[in-house]
């Protein structure tokens, strides 16, 4: 496909980006009093009107609404995919792989919690025909061992089978599973990037994916140090090896921090200096996930506007759409559980 047709698809992605939710719409959504209010607003005042056209916004269930939202994003990617033949193809396949991997991880989480039978409720139906593995069969899995049997002929088997088989499913090391699967996923992602022919495309994708890995590593360090109180060696073992800007020195600096305040300070400095994405006024109420998301959001927005490479623009759009979905899920759950609008806003990224 010629560079000119790539430009057409890039323009199409820009148009889709233009239909994403605006800060004013987020304000309106946060001000909603109930899930039906949110559904009604999305149906009548946003680009989700299409997917919600026939939905009964008064009776709609929270999970159903979330599925509709995810479906809309997925339909957007599929619309783009129709026009991509060469350069962006790999990225779309990686996206499907990630969805598939997330489904496997969701099943592992439910197995650990002993609630595998609930898997079917949140299974996004639109993925059934797209994923390589049979998600209906996956939904019938009732043990970790059964899961390994089911995944026997898939790339996930070799990754998960390295783990020691737990005596009881409640003992599954979910973090380890997540790390191994993501590591494998990122490895294949970088292989795909290295096969690209354009230098600028490679650089941009490396930066985008690298930043995502940096953010995941930072969140991981923060969570393991603050919440699980693991020691530095254990934390180091669970970090992804493909960091972009998070050099070993920086990792050591974070790991060596004496207390939480000190670590917060280092992380804030790192964000302010390295990415320049955060304003001093945003330093209060430090939520690590929010800050990593802000960094990701700004970098993706930058590449969406500035890049001329279809793969980069597509991937940036994909990440921005995923951020929008998380925003909407935060809002839906926040409103459902009567969280104040100010508290919900602290979790949103736009």
């Amino acid at each position: 496909m010629s560079i000119f047709s790539d430009n057409v698809v890039v323009a199409k992605i820009h148009a889709m980006y233009g239909k994403m939710l605006t800060p004013a719409q987020y304000e309106d959504l946060v001000a909603c009093k109930s899930v039906p209010d949110i559904a009604s607003y999305l149906k009548n005042s946003t680009s989700y009107s299409n997917v919600l056209a026939n939905a009964n916004e008064i009776l709609i269930h929270r999970g159903q609404l979330e599925n509709f939202i995810k479906k809309q994003s997925f339909e957007n990617y599929s619309k783009i995919y129709r026009y991509i033949s060469g350069s962006g193809n790999g990225m779309f396949n990686m996206m499907i792989e990630e969805f598939e991997m997330l489904e496997v991880l969701r099943m592992i989480l439910l197995l650990k919690a002993g609630k595998a039978d609930e898997y079917i409720v949140s299974l996004p139906g639109f993925l059934l025909s797209k994923c390589k593995i049979d998600l209906i069969k996956l939904a019938k899995v009732r043990s970790f061992e059964g899961l390994l049997d089911f995944l026997l002929k898939t790339p996930y088997h070799s990754v998960l089978s390295k783990q020691e088989l737990p005596k009881d499913d409640s003992e599954i090391d979910y973090v380890e599973c997540e790390n191994s699967l993501y590591e494998n996923f990122f490895k294949r992602m970088f292989d795909m990037i290295e096969n690209k022919s354009k230098r600028s495309e490679k650089q941009e994708l490396r930066r985008l994916v690298g930043t995502r890995i940096d953010n995941l590593n930072i969140c991981s360090i923060y969570r393991q140090k603050v919440l699980f109180k693991l020691d530095s060696d254990q934390i180091r073992e669970r970090l992804f090896p493909f960091s972009k800007k998070l050099t070993p020195d920086k990792i050591e600096k974070i790991l060596s921090s004496s207390d939480f305040d000190h670590m917060n300070k280092i992380l804030k400095e790192m964000f302010l200096i390295d990415d320049g994405a955060l304003k001093a006024s945003e330093e209060e109420n430090f939520y690590i996930e929010r800050y990593t998301s802000i960094v990701r959001h700004r970098i993706c927005r930058h590449y969406l506007h500035m890049s001329r490479n279809l793969s980069t623009v597509f991937y940036a759009f994909y990440i921005l759409s995923q951020l929008e979905i998380s925003n909407l899920i935060y809002i839906i759950e926040g409103v459902r559980y009567k969280i104040t609008s100010n508290e919900i806003k602290k979790l949103l990224v736009w």
Binding site: V51, A53, N54, A55, N56, L59, H61, G63, Q64, N67, F68, K71, I120, V121, L123, P124, G125, F126, L128, S129, I136, A139, K140
Partner: protein, 647 residues
């Protein structure tokens, strides 16, 4: 350029006569009531603070009018008496109308439900068995509804469960169908379908037989209900036609009593007397006083406005018919004070001149004139009349520029005929004329600023505000400094004479600026000398503030004058836009030319018309009004009963 002269009126009489006096006042619509100030009251007089007894009944009759979709208006009501009979009549009419309206809304709700059911049952139309048979089975449970298409794909997961799902219809994202399960498994199956976001639809009691039969039954029931609805509406319409005049008469009576009562808040009462005061137009004073001749226990006293200290008189603008529509723009900015002048005519003249200069096209001016007339005829909006004046001005300047619908150089014969062929028409796109129009705009702006300063001086002297008239940046000092600088610049531009000598600069520019700098102490000195009231707080002088003010004043003299260059600029842009239109029209050939010329003219008229209107208004508000105009006036609003609006 006038404001109507007012007279202050005191009305004093027996308390029992207050309602009659208020009725006369609201009927004549001449009296602008004002609250009686405490120091004007006799001892023992207190404000009337009563709740309006007509609020409840007025609200009821307003509801009747609203339910009947009748616009409230006046109807002769002299024979209506406010007694128990009228109250009973209102209650009776209200209950009857409400009865009809409730019945109509009930039928509408029923129709909505049946429409909805019809849509739902239509999704079942593939089902060939009787609906009752399906749902009345003893050992099986059936449930009709829809679920997302995605969920249907997940049905495979439940294939071991004891149920089967019969898809009946599919729309964009949803699949309609019926699931059937043994009664003993009903709960479990319901749980499964709940997890698939299955939305259950209840089949209404009136649905029987096969879906096809049910559809035809519902359709016939809908027709019956519609006929019933029409019949009820016809009954209501007949009731309305029969009682309309009576209802409006009663409404008018209640509205008069309600609104008149509401003016009691302006009165004070005490010692079995009342006192109310306000303003009337001086020309109406004799007629107004005579109205109370038949009321022996009521005294009406008129006083000249100058004798009143407690009340600022209201303002009623009086403008000649030609510029009366521009009162709208003046009111948008705010009314002038009673002691100032009515700027409508001045504004109208300046606005029309600027509009014509910027939008000079004979043909387009005629179209604007016609559009204005039509707008006035159909909407009665004063903007329509403003458009006619602006259109006339465009016609005049179109003659001067020799422009008609973008065709330049026309009317040469006309100008030759009156002996001005060597000067006009003035094609703006010629280089010398382009420069000339900018110079004319500059001079025009200077003259307007000077005339605004003159008005400020006149008003200052008239109202004995000598500081404002003599020392302010828009007073005599400002006038001297500004006219000296810009007069000299204009002399250089037009005739090449340079009068900037040291003596001229010192006496005509620096000394006036020096006076402006010290305007605060100078004003204070003069105010203290003239006014006896020493307690009035005087403004404090600060050298720092004065310095910054001075910089601002000098800069604004230049920026405000240059601001008028837009008049010439927009005149040129209008000509240039029309040139583009004409060029396009030549490119498309003889057939397309009229279409392009027509579309181009419409486009330019809308675009330029809007820009020019806004720019002219901006120049008037910012560069002219800011020099002399105080918009602190309050409007003259005589007491009256408003029938047209619901309260």
């Amino acid at each position: 350029m006038a404001i109507d002269v007012m007279t202050f009126v005191n009305i004093i009489g027996k308390s029992s006569k207050l309602n009659d006096v208020l009725l006369k006042i609201t009927e004549c619509e001449m009296f602008h009531p004002e609250k009686v100030e405490k120091k004007s009251r006799a001892s023992g007089f207190k404000s009337v603070n009563e709740s309006n007894p007509y609020v409840g009944i007025l609200s009821k009759i307003n509801k009747i009018l609203s339910m009947l979709s009748v616009d409230p208006k006046f109807e002769e009501c002299s024979e209506v008496q406010m007694d128990d009979r009228t109250n009973a009549l209102v209650d009776d009419v209200f209950s009857k109308v409400k009865g009809y309206v409730d019945k109509i809304s009930k039928i509408n709700v029923m129709l909505d439900l049946m429409d909805k059911s019809l849509i739902e049952i239509e999704h079942m139309s593939k089902l060939s068995v009787k609906i009752d048979d399906v749902f009345a089975a003893e050992h099986i449970d059936a449930c009709f509804g829809r679920m997302p298409v995605d969920s249907r794909l997940k049905l495979d997961y439940f294939k071991d469960q004891l149920f089967f799902f019969v898809p009946l219809d599919q729309e964009k994202d949803f699949c309609w169908g019926i699931y059937i399960t043994p009664s003993k498994c009903a709960d479990e199956t319901r749980k499964c379908f709940k997890s698939l976001y299955f939305e259950e639809y209840c089949i209404p009691d009136y649905v029987h037989g096969t879906p096809q039969l049910a559809i035809s039954n519902i359709k016939s029931q809908i027709s019956e209900e519609k006929a019933n609805l029409e019949q009820t509406k016809a009954s209501l319409a007949a009731f309305k036609a029969q009682n309309m005049r009576t209802i409006l008469s009663v409404y008018s009576k209640i509205k008069i009593l309600h609104d008149t009562f509401s003016y009691r808040k302006f009165a004070v009462v005490g010692q079995k007397k009342f006192h109310i005061n306000g303003f009337i137009l001086k020309k109406d004073s004799e007629k107004f006083v005579k109205m109370f001749d038949d009321m022996a226990e009521v005294v009406v006293e008129t006083l000249a406005v100058e004798e009143i200290e407690d009340h600022a008189p209201p303002v009623k603008l009086r403008t000649c018919w030609l510029f009366r529509p521009f009162e709208t723009y003046v009111k948008m900015y705010g009314l002038p004070r009673y002691e100032d002048m009515n700027p409508s005519s001045y504004m109208g003249l300046v606005y029309c001149l600027m509009f014509g200069m910027m939008f000079g096209d004979f043909g387009q001016g005629l179209v604007l004139f016609g559009a204005g007339l039509l707008a006035w005829k159909f909407t009665k909006n004063s903007i329509g009349l403003i458009l006619t004046r602006c259109g006339a001005s465009s016609v005049l300047f179109g003659l001067i520029y020799g422009s008609c619908f973008g065709f330049e150089g026309v009317f040469a014969g006309f100008w030759k005929l009156i002996g001005l062929g060597s000067v006009f028409p003035m094609n703006l796109l010629e280089a010398k004329n382009s420069m000339n129009i900018l110079i004319v705009s500059f001079i025009f702006g200077t003259v307007l600023i000077l005339s605004s300063m003159s008005i400020n001086v006149f008003l200052g002297l008239k109202n004995r505000q000598f500081g404002k008239a003599l020392f302010s940046c828009n007073g005599i000092a400002g006038f001297l400094a500004y006219s000296s600088v810009f007069g000299a610049v204009i002399l250089i531009m037009t005739s090449g004479i340079n009068i900037f000598s040291p003596i001229f600069i010192v006496f005509a520019i620096l000394i006036p600026l020096f006076i402006i700098f010290f305007s605060v102490p100078l004003s204070n000195a003069i105010e203290t000398k003239i006014k006896k009231n020493k307690s009035e707080k005087l403004e404090k002088f600060s050298a720092v503030t004065a310095t910054f003010d001075m910089i601002d004043i000098v800069l604004s003299y230049f920026s405000n004058t240059l601001s008028f260059l837009r008049v010439g600029g927009l005149a040129l842009s209008h000509a240039a836009l029309m040139l583009v239109v004409m060029e396009f029209s030549h490119m498309v050939g003889a057939l397309g030319m009229p279409i392009i010329v027509l579309l181009g003219n419409v486009f330019v008229m809308i675009l330029e018309g809007l820009i020019v209107s806004i720019q002219a208004l901006r120049l008037v508000y910012y560069e002219i009004f800011s020099r002399f105009y105080n918009s602190d006036g309050k409007p003259f609003e005589p007491a009256r009963v408003v029938f047209e609006k619901n309260v």
